[in-house]
């Protein structure tokens, strides 16, 4: 079954769990600043998760001079092949959505690779704002989140 990464912006409460999960899943440091999914926060419990769209006709792939970005046909993700990357940062400048990230520590480009078909951020999302769903379900509009009565498991 073909799966797709679905983001329901209206359900995001900007808790930052996906950022942490991503930082821990990629690299040993676990620094939230090194996440590949970014939440733009704009008020209490309000945010917009920003993550790679895995575009069909991707600008990052078009500008890459060494063909270091290639689509994984199994997961549908555009993956960065570390051994081919020359760190020229053209993809960082070229991505129209700002989803190619430059890692100064390791001197290489970071991008969402859908964790090889099992995105680690998804199980940590408490409201289902991000989900890994079959393609057929991708167009179903998400249920609105009732923020007044929002209670988490083992809540405060």
């Amino acid at each position: 079954m073909k799966m797709i990464f679905k983001v329901s912006v209206e359900r995001c409460i900007a808790c930052g769990k996906c950022e942490l999960a991503c930082a821990f899943a990629h690299g040993s440091e676990g620094r939230p600043a090194k996440t590949r999914i970014n939440i733009r926060r704009r008020g209490p419990e309000l945010g917009t998760p920003i993550v790679c769209f895995q575009c069909d006709d991707a600008a990052c792939v078009a500008v890459c001079p060494t063909e270091a970005l290639a689509r994984n046909s199994e997961t549908g993700a555009i993956e960065m092949v570390r051994s081919r990357c020359i760190s020229c940062r053209m993809c960082v400048a070229g991505c129209p959505f700002g989803n190619m990230l430059w890692d100064e520590t390791y001197h290489c480009v970071q991008k969402c690779d859908l964790c090889g078909g099992d995105p680690r951020c998804v199980p940590f999302c408490p409201t289902g704002a991000i989900a890994w769903v079959p393609v057929e379900e991708a167009a179903i509009p998400p249920e609105p989140l009732d923020r007044e009565t929002l209670v988490f498991e083992g809540g405060v």
């Binding site: 920003i50 500008v63 001079p65 020359i86 940062r89 700002g98």
Partner: protein, 254 residues
């Protein structure tokens, strides 16, 4: 898909693979300096030499070849750790150490082969450049060709034409980034960049002032890839903010 043996281990690889790919597939480490997956193999550093015997050759007949650019064939036998291979690599590293006595990468590799001090006359003008050609090859690959190797033999070096700031250089730093011994100097900031004696102005985000590429780089890659120039004009941070704004409308707060 040809099947061959590397150090006695059977391995099956794609027909367009090289001996180096086969060795890696078999889990055998072969030292390399001038090899890079994104570029054509070149066989310049001579460190990846291996013993190779084809299926129809006599059993004890082996030829020394560079693994990085030698294609695989059905039934080949490859040996990467024979005495003469280790000796060949030792001589290569001894010579490289004589040329670049101060390069940490060469010192480390040489030490792995038991060389602490070169047995040849050390280079009177120590230089970290090992002439692996990665910088010129990556420059060619990008379609710029601003630098090349000049002179021959002892006097060979990497330089822009006439040792002047290269007019074709776009300031992408690919040469400096790919250099295995980090011997190409450059300066970069959000405002300016300098490499090979040429000054560049960065393409800065109008709001935040951040920049990752030069104006020449944006122009070159916009022409080459067909990506509109407007994509390059703002920083990734600004673009994420703009995208978030677009999606804010969707958020209905109850």
């Amino acid at each position: 898909m040809p099947t061959l043996t590397v150090n006695g281990r059977w391995v099956t690889v794609d027909s367009d693979a090289t001996l180096l790919d086969a060795a890696r597939a078999a889990g055998v480490e072969v030292p390399t300096l001038c090899q890079f997956d994104g570029l054509e193999p070149w066989g310049g550093c001579r460190l990846c030499v291996v013993d190779m015997s084809q299926a129809n050759w006599d059993d004890d007949w082996f030829k020394v070849v560079t693994a990085c650019n030698h294609p695989v064939e059905e039934g080949m036998t490859v040996v990467t750790d024979s005495e003469r291979i280790i000796e060949t690599r030792r001589v290569v590293l001894d010579l490289l150490l004589a040329r670049c006595p101060n390069a940490p990468l060469i010192q480390k590799l040489a030490l792995e082969f038991g060389i602490e001090q070169t047995s040849y006359t050390p280079n009177p003008e120590p230089d970290d450049c090992i002439l692996c050609g990665l910088c010129t090859r990556v420059c060619d690959h990008i379609g710029v060709s601003a630098i090349s190797s000049i002179n021959r033999g002892w006097g060979r070096e990497i330089a822009p034409p006439f040792n002047e700031p290269p007019p074709d250089c776009i300031g992408c730093l690919a040469c400096a980034e790919i250099c295995p011994t980090d011997c190409i100097p450059y300066e970069t900031s959000n405002a300016h960049r300098k490499i090979w004696g040429k000054e560049f102005e960065m393409l800065r985000d109008p709001k935040t002032g951040e920049a990752v590429i030069t104006k020449e780089q944006a122009q070159h890659f916009a022409e080459r890839s067909g990506v509109p120039m407007t994509y390059f004009e703002t920083s990734d941070r600004s673009k994420r903010r703009e995208m978030a704004k677009t999606f804010e409308k969707l958020q209905v707060v109850k």
